[in-house]
Amino acid sequence: MMLRRLRIEHFRGIERADWKIDRRLVALVGAGDSTKTTLLDAIGLVLSPSYNPQFTDADFYNFDLASEIVIEAVVTELPDNLVKESQLGKDRSGLMPDGKLVHDPVDDAEECLVVRLTVTPDLDPIWEVIRPQSDDARPISASQRRQLGFFRLGERPDFHFRWARGSALSGLTAGGDGASSVILDAHRDARTAVFKAEPNALHQAAAAAQESASTFGAASFGELRPGLEPGSSTSTHALLLHDGEVPLSSLGLGTRRLTSLAIQDKSMKDGSIIAIDEIEHGLEPHRLAQALHRLRQRTQADKLQIIMTTHSPVAVTALSAVDIEVVHADGAGSTSCRSVPDDLDNVQGALRSAPDALLGRRVMVMEGATEVGVLRALLRHWDEQRLSAGMDSSVATGAVLVDGGGGAQSLQRARNFQCLGYLTCALLDNDDRGIDPRVTSTEAAGVAVHRWSEGCNIEHEIVRVLPLAGVQEVVDLAVEFRGEQSVVAAVAAKLDGAGLTGTQVATWLQQALGDECALRSAIADAAVVKKKEWFKRQDRGEELAGVVIAHWAELADTHVMSVFEGLRDFAYPDAATSGAADYVVPSSDE
């Protein structure tokens, strides 16, 4: 079975969504309220084998009971039994290679069933198989829906390793009913054991009861004694898998979830559609990676489809770009799912380098580690200011920093994120004319590109405009990171070998014959000497930002300020423009 399309109207946070799927392994990622889990819930309900899942007014979009909830699923690779004429064989439709649905399963199309769940305002669910381009509809029963093989991991994590009625483990048991006789035999043995027990306090109590009963003339008992009620139990729920002496129910959550998944997978012979909410739940990174690896193998081998959500950077890293669907809710009820296009250059690199960016909403692609550090510290600083003013922090606005890897690569990554529907900005050096054309095209794709002054990188831009006290603090940090000797030698080298002593900028200025401009240049150049960079680490970038923050007021009206303010405005959209503005319609040139 394979879910090929999901259409939703008016369900919970989704006023409308239309998602086309052509993958067997699908990982839904997106920001916290992007309605990923609602998508899984919708799949679960339309394919539910349950007779009467409970609906409430809260399941209606905006609590608006004027419209019905409609969830429509297109399922291919149908089980043989459903194709029979007596089942739904005459209710099949066709799915064309271009994704269009047609009324009949014509030769060029894949046969499919279009299952529609409608929930009326009086909360009655109706399941039907419908045919496109017509009013044809006929009911699909719960047992027919069961054959579509949908299950959701984690709804009852312990249920499937018990021999309970309808559990996957019972399904795996040949003959189906071995568990009942085991339970009954166990009951009988226990009953015998109680009868055979050595005389104890229970027997004395029984004797007392018998004596008293005889004085009342209740009955003439032979011998009253303690005994176990005969086992009437047809419930085999208490019978479950053990590892040695240990019941599986007492193991860790991750183990139980994976075991449950493994048993269910094994029991579905005709294929199935498995939904997993937060695959990483309860798993350490290595087991998560192993589980994903196994799931991919299974989806390649069999009629199996797995649709999961994840918030885990580890999972994103372990997946292929094509496995990932980015979910966006536009805040006005429309949810879209964008699969990562497999012809997009370098996508894999973009995702691997910044897995958490996929979990955010506003992606800020930085030139390199220094810029990531500086911006992290600035965001923290702005967050504090805003929180004390009762405004959203960058966590709430979903701003995420990404190391772009420099130059052209940063531009490519920024563009990739923009194409996936993320609002994206980039911060670039301005010392390589070769990338100027690509800057223009990236801006045309919708990315807000920020650059330093011509010829500058961040160290230049900052050292250029800081007051001397600030420059001193920069040098002090460099000495702390690199040692006095290294720093002094590097600066001196950039001053044509002028003799410098100590680490006081004021002294250096005298020794540089008062040429402040040349000294600032030398310091900035020294900061970026290959292999001896002062700040090319995120933590050091953060320290550098501390200097900027300390001299904030003095930097007013400089280009560095306008760049930082531009980035700040990106990270914290005004309340008035948040919502719809958080979502980009990806450009069509992808």
Binding site: D91, R92, G94, D104
Partner: protein
């Protein structure tokens, strides 16, 4: 499952080689063989599709399945037409035909072609393969060529057995001829020969049963049939009313009776002489009724009023004594239409109201009053009821009488008709049906197949009225240009 070694062998033979055809005489247990084969197929883990022609046939097959205790979800019994319509209604693109919600059976040929087309597509072939292990088609001699092509298409996906009897193959005037057994059936469905005996006449009328088997050779080979010294009761035709006394005498017997003529008009004429004791059986597409409905829908007041009286008169005996032909002419010509007889006045007034205001409601009132007149006996009861119900439906639903009539006929097709116990009918309408007693009015009018069908309808007695106890040779009716018959 059953203690009949004969049928067990037949079942084994039928299931051993498929596709195949089986020829069985009337009353030799064809339905029984199908049910037993389906039961055995189920026993082997299979599921069967059984197709036949009439709803009466569907009922009979379902009842027999029940007798054999076949699980309901392991077989499907449908008419070829309804099954085809159902298929193409679901798959208009595969069938290349869009059909209305209510089937239009005048287009049945198109339906069969479309169904055959759909059955050949991979999607439907897959459904058939997954759904059924066996296909049985009953009364195969009644299949027209396009139905035969549909079955051929189905047999590409399901192992198929067709059952029938070329000697019961009747030509319906003006319609597509049925399959030719030698040139159409046998090359595609090789014959499997099974043992059989005339079960329908056992145990009390075995002699009649055997005689009916024996005459098959004479009929096929064009030899004359003689009734002397046979289990058939032969009555010399002394005059045109010989049959009246025979039919009236027969009323004293228990059970159902079919009096068999050849055409509708001679059946109606015979029934009119039998004082309404026998009902004329009508074809499901009888045109006289349709023509009347069309007249009510479109005619002027005078024409409708005249048609109502004429139609009522044709369905019954006795109306002309109350409304003379001169008066009927005055009705048509718009002249005054009155009577002095107080008992007749309500009827006359109702007819005049039709002339003033021809609606289904006024027509129905007049029609019912005509039927209730003193001394009137209705022998075309089926036609009468059909018209009466259609008028009521048209009045209630605001549709035309023709529409109501079509709807009623569709319903009858689906639900099956209520067979009267004593009918005047024709071989074409009673084929596949069974009566206790049969009276044949004029056997010399029949071709060989009609004669065989007529003779084999009675399970207790067969009465033949003719000039001589030996009939002239009855020719096999060749339905096609086939040179082998005739």
């Amino acid at each position: 499952m059953n203690d009949d070694p004969c049928i067990e062998d037949a079942v084994a033979a039928v299931l051993a080689v498929q596709p195949c055809s089986v020829t069985l005489p009337a009353g030799a247990g064809k339905t029984e063989l199908i049910a037993a084969s389906v039961a055995e197929a189920v026993h082997r883990g299979g599921t069967s599709l059984v197709l036949t022609h009439t709803h009466a046939g569907v009922d009979a097959l379902r009842r027999r399945m029940k007798k054999f205790g076949v699980m309901r979800d392991r077989f499907v019994v449908r008419t070829i037409d309804s099954w085809s319509y159902d298929l193409i209604a679901h798959f208009p693109d595969l069938a290349g035909l869009a059909v209305p919600t209510i089937p239009d059976w005048t287009r049945s040929t198109e339906y069969h072609l479309a169904a055959a087309r759909a059955a050949g597509t991979p999607a439907v072939a897959k459904m058939l393969r997954l759904s059924y292990t066996n296909l049985f088609v009953d009364e195969y001699h009644d299949c027209v060529l396009d139905q035969h092509n549909l079955v051929l298409s189905l047999s590409g996906s399901i192992p198929t057995t067709v059952l029938g009897d070329p000697l019961q193959s009747l030509l319906t005037f003006g319609e597509t001829p049925p399959v030719d057994w030698d040139s159409d059936v046998l090359p595609n469905f090789p014959e499997v020969v099974v043992d059989h005996r005339p079960r329908r006449w056992e145990p009390d009328h075995a002699e009649l049963g055997q005689w009916l088997v024996d005459i098959r050779t004479e009929l096929t080979d064009g030899m004359p049939i003689s009734f002397s010294g046979t289990p058939v009761r032969w009555v010399r035709k002394s005059d045109d009313r010989t049959f009246v006394s025979e039919c009236m005498k027969a009323l004293g017997q228990e059970g159902t009776i079919a009096v068999l003529g050849r055409f509708r008009h001679d059946c109606v004429s015979a029934a009119s002489k039998l004082s309404g004791r026998y009902t004329v059986m009508e074809a499901l597409d009888e045109k006289a009724t349709l023509a009347f409905a069309a007249k009510v829908d479109t005619g002027s007041g005078a024409a409708v009023a005249h048609a109502v009286v004429e139609f009522a008169a044709k369905c019954s005996v006795g109306i002309p004594t109350h409304i003379s032909s001169a008066k009927r002419k005055r009705l048509l010509n718009g002249l005054s239409f009155v009577t002095r007889d107080e008992d007749l006045k309500p009827t006359y007034e109702a007819v005049v109201r039709v002339r003033e205001q021809p609606t289904p409601t006024t027509v129905r009132t007049a029609f019912e009053l005509l039927g209730d007149l003193q001394g009137v006996s209705i022998h075309c009861r089926e036609a009468w009821n059909e018209v009466s119900r259609s008028l009521a439906a048209a009045a209630a639903d605001g549709c035309t009488v023709t529409e109501a009539l079509h709807l009623a006929r569709s319903h009858t097709r689906a639900a099956g008709r209520q067979a009267a116990a004593r009918v005047v009918s024709r071989p074409l309408l009673v084929k596949g049906l069974e009566y206790d007693h049969v009276i044949i009015l004029d056997p010399t009018a029949y071709g060989a197949q009609e004669l065989y069908v007529a003779l084999t309808r009675g399970s207790k007695s067969v009465t033949v009225i003719s000039d001589s106890s030996t009939l002239p040779v009855a020719r096999m009716q060749a339905h096609k240009k086939s040179p082998t018959r005739g």
